[in-house]
């Protein structure tokens, strides 16, 4: 967690000989932590600042991109008045949100009503702390002032899943505290949907986990770089992950919790101004998180597809893959109609769940047999 400067690394390991602690110390001293805790904190702060800004700017311009892509699919122009080809539209939207009044309904449960947008927003942003945009074992930009990853967690995938399971609280609390039937219905739909799809979201990643033998996102990327991108051996898992991810973020065609035509927008119906803006941000940032994790776990993250393409830096590769998934999101949104509720639940429990279970078992068996026969690298 903290700087290695606090550690007493001269401590003899319990093993006698080069201990776990000593090897970890060597690595940490080399890469992850400078000697001064203050500098370590400053570096973390700067890295967080940069990554937060990148995430929020990406989110803003992604709304523009979404409108443009959907307009293209529907033979329209999309936003084009504000700035050249509508490029200032996200900024205009942000200003509009910030200047609007924040109205609390009389029936609202005030405290919960206030914190619900934060509960939705914080886990969404926190997911980006573990995504590496370069090799986390090397030095970052500008003499490590911007590190390749904020937190190189050993439990990366579990952290991601835990955040996605916490993220639904914002929606449920919003629906409950608004004192509005439509909001309540939206949040009930959402909780049932997210509880179901979370299961398949986690299980579809287990194949990757077995193949890589690690929960650490950076290790998984390195494994893919050394062997093969996991969307080829884990194609079934990838498809299931992406479908579950779309459902988990309540996007089309699984956007039942906020179906405009049935629930008038569902859980965020009573929210206005920037509190609505936070929900809006959270939805898009959750979408980004699903996309960036898909790029990292299945498409090699920051690694280039071939060694002769390595002159292009890692962050650009990650961004390109990420942008591809976002385009997939928009494409699906403008193509498919909304599911019916029983279809939604039938899909996850009767189709995706058995498939991911079979995928998990087959991957495990293949790995064990492969190790026994010496096929496995």
């Amino acid at each position: 967690m903290f700087s290695s400067a606090q550690f007493d690394w001269s401590l003899g390991g319990p093993l006698g000989g080069p201990s776990l602690l000593e090897t970890a110390a060597a690595v940490n001293a080399k890469v992850n932590a400078p000697n001064e805790p203050f500098i370590w904190f400053l570096q973390t702060f700067i890295t967080l600042f940069v990554i937060m800004n990148v995430v929020l700017l990406t989110m803003a311009y992604q709304t523009w991109a979404e409108r443009k892509v959907i307009a293209f699919c529907q033979l329209r122009y999309g936003p084009k008045r504000t700035g050249p080809s509508g490029l200032l539209q996200p900024i205009a939207d942000a200003v509009k949100m910030l200047t609007k009044e924040f109205i609390v309904p009389q029936e609202a449960d005030r405290f919960v009503f206030f914190i619900a947008p934060l509960l939705g927003f914080v886990p969404a942003v926190a997911a980006f702390a573990i995504v590496p945009w370069g090799d986390a074992n090397t030095e970052g930009l500008f003499g490590d002032w911007i590190r390749p990853v904020v937190a190189n967690l050993n439990i990366g995938i579990l952290y991601m899943l835990a955040l996605s399971s916490v993220g639904v609280y914002g929606i449920v609390m919003a629906g409950y505290s608004s004192g509005n039937k439509y909001s309540m219905l939206g949040s009930l739909r959402s909780s049932a949907q997210v509880v179901s799809y979370e299961l398949t979201l986690g299980l579809s990643l287990m194949g990757v986990l077995i193949q890589a033998g690690s929960l650490n996102l950076n290790d998984i990327v390195l494994q893919q770089k050394a062997t093969i991108w996991y969307f080829i051996p884990q194609f079934v898992g990838f498809v299931c992950y992406f479908v579950s991810g779309i459902a988990e973020t309540n996007r089309n065609p699984f956007d039942l919790p906020e179906a405009e035509s049935e629930l008038v927008a569902g859980f965020h119906l009573e929210y206005s101004g920037m509190s609505f803006g936070l929900f809006y941000l959270a939805e898009y940032i959750n979408m980004n998180a699903i996309a960036v994790v898909a790029a990292t776990l299945f498409f090699g993250g920051w690694a280039a597809p071939a060694s002769f393409l390595e002159f292009i830096p890692g962050p650009l590769w990650l961004f390109a893959k990420f942008a591809f998934f976002l385009f997939l999101y928009y494409w699906i949104r403008s193509t498919l109609p909304r599911f019916r509720y029983d279809q939604l639940m039938g899909l996850v429990w009767k189709v995706i769940f058995p498939i991911v279970l079979a995928n998990l078992v087959i991957t495990a068996v293949v790995k064990i047999v492969g190790i026994q026969l010496g096929w496995w690298a």
């Binding site: 606090q6 690595v27 405290f111 399971s165």
Partner: protein, 259 residues
Amino acid sequence: MALEQLVFLVFALLAIVTSLGLVIFKDPVHCALSLVFAFANIAGVYILLGAEFIAAIQVLVYSGAILVLFLFVMMLLQVRPGPSLNRLRFFQSGFGPVLGVAFLVEVVLVVLTSGFVLNGGNITKPNNTQAAKMQAGVEYSVSVNVIQAAGPLTIQGKADGIQPNTVGHTAALGKELYSTYLFPFEVASIILLIAAIGAIVIARRSLVSDEEEDHPKRRGISLGSVPAQGSLQAFEVERQTSQSQRRKEAKKRTVILKK
């Protein structure tokens, strides 16, 4: 290091405050919400102890469970006003505090008397560094050999550049769980499986054969002789039968008139 103590104090205080909130709040939804926060803070304490895996599982499993609890609250209870303290039943108001205090005393006794807690029972001592904790954790929970054996599993040293700092407690935990503690693990899984099957048996819809005894073809759009009650077909059938009855009556009337 003072910082670690500070972080621990923040987590611990928030955990205590939110746990109190869980008991004190009147609205059951507020109680569930503060339970979520309490679990999150306890997960933070786990991370300080170096048990990342347990922390992640804590958030993942318990928060999901609380969401279901939350849904129960919303669906089964009257949502807004909860029971106030003076209207609790005797069992709740009388025995609850006694049980709580007894449990508290037990916990305090365990903490004070045994070597259960790492690092001599004081988590915030300055010498409780990460290294000391890892050493203690190695000695306490997992035998050294397991970590050594688990190391190569997680590292996989084939791909160049992978560093040995990926050795977490997760692999060691998994290895222990599926070898030394396999039997309790399997027993626990079977108990959970039984619970799941029980829930399905209780919640399942009654089979068609059960239904046909008294209410033939009750659900959905029926193609049988008797349509589902309240469905569009039922209205249609009712309309048609009433029309035909009216026609019959009209015929009777005309017959009577002719006579």
